[in-house]
Symmetry: C2
Subunit: 115 residues, 2 copies
């Protein structure tokens, strides 16, 4: 319970001091949380892997979202192979703290939005 947590992340400036508004400033668009879903729940880690998901994110938007998430400290870009260099995008410990929110959104969709 009182274990040390990762440090807060800078991703502002924000619209207001409300924590919900701040979170939405960072994650509140159509793709960012989907990328995190794939990284956290489906173990997707390569650029191509994210592209191949059913929602078909455009490559330019994916590149932009990954950059933003790396800058915000939610994902880490790691080279896992040389010649040619290949990168992996891995969720950080901070990103894992979004799991409860993602599950709550999933539950809402399951229960109240028809497919």
């Amino acid at each position: 319970m009182s274990q040390r947590q990762p440090p807060p992340v800078e991703a502002g400036p924000y619209r207001s001091h409300c924590a919900i508004a701040r979170t939405l400033d960072l994650l509140g668009d159509k793709w960012t949380l989907l990328v995190l879903r794939d990284a956290l729940f489906f173990d997707v880690s390569t650029f191509a892997g994210f592209c191949q998901r059913p929602e078909q994110v455009p490559t330019n938007l994916l590149a932009a979202r990954l950059k933003k998430l790396v800058a915000a400290g939610l994902m880490e870009k790691v080279a896992y192979q040389q010649r040619p260099t290949r990168y992996q995008y891995l969720p950080t410990a901070v990103a894992k703290e979004l799991i409860p929110a993602l599950l709550a959104l999933k539950q809402f969709g399951d229960n109240y939005l028809q497919d």
Copy 2:
């Protein structure tokens, strides 16, 4: 536990069958969840009330979001006065089911996003 729940809501078409993606199709923008936050946590119900919140949503976007939320069954538009007719926007039972997700997002913001 087994009490009857409100019926599912039509708000598609959706990008995929994933419940998270569906929820994000409906709510995943910078303003929609903020409007619901105000309605659910701060008892805001009038057009002007939403406008006056610290994030200062533009009136055209507020009108569009309220329309969408009413169409999706998450808010109800109710006349509460005649001559001139005044309307209130009230969260439905379905909207209240988003409270856990909003609290999870707030917790993330509180813990990991610096102000």
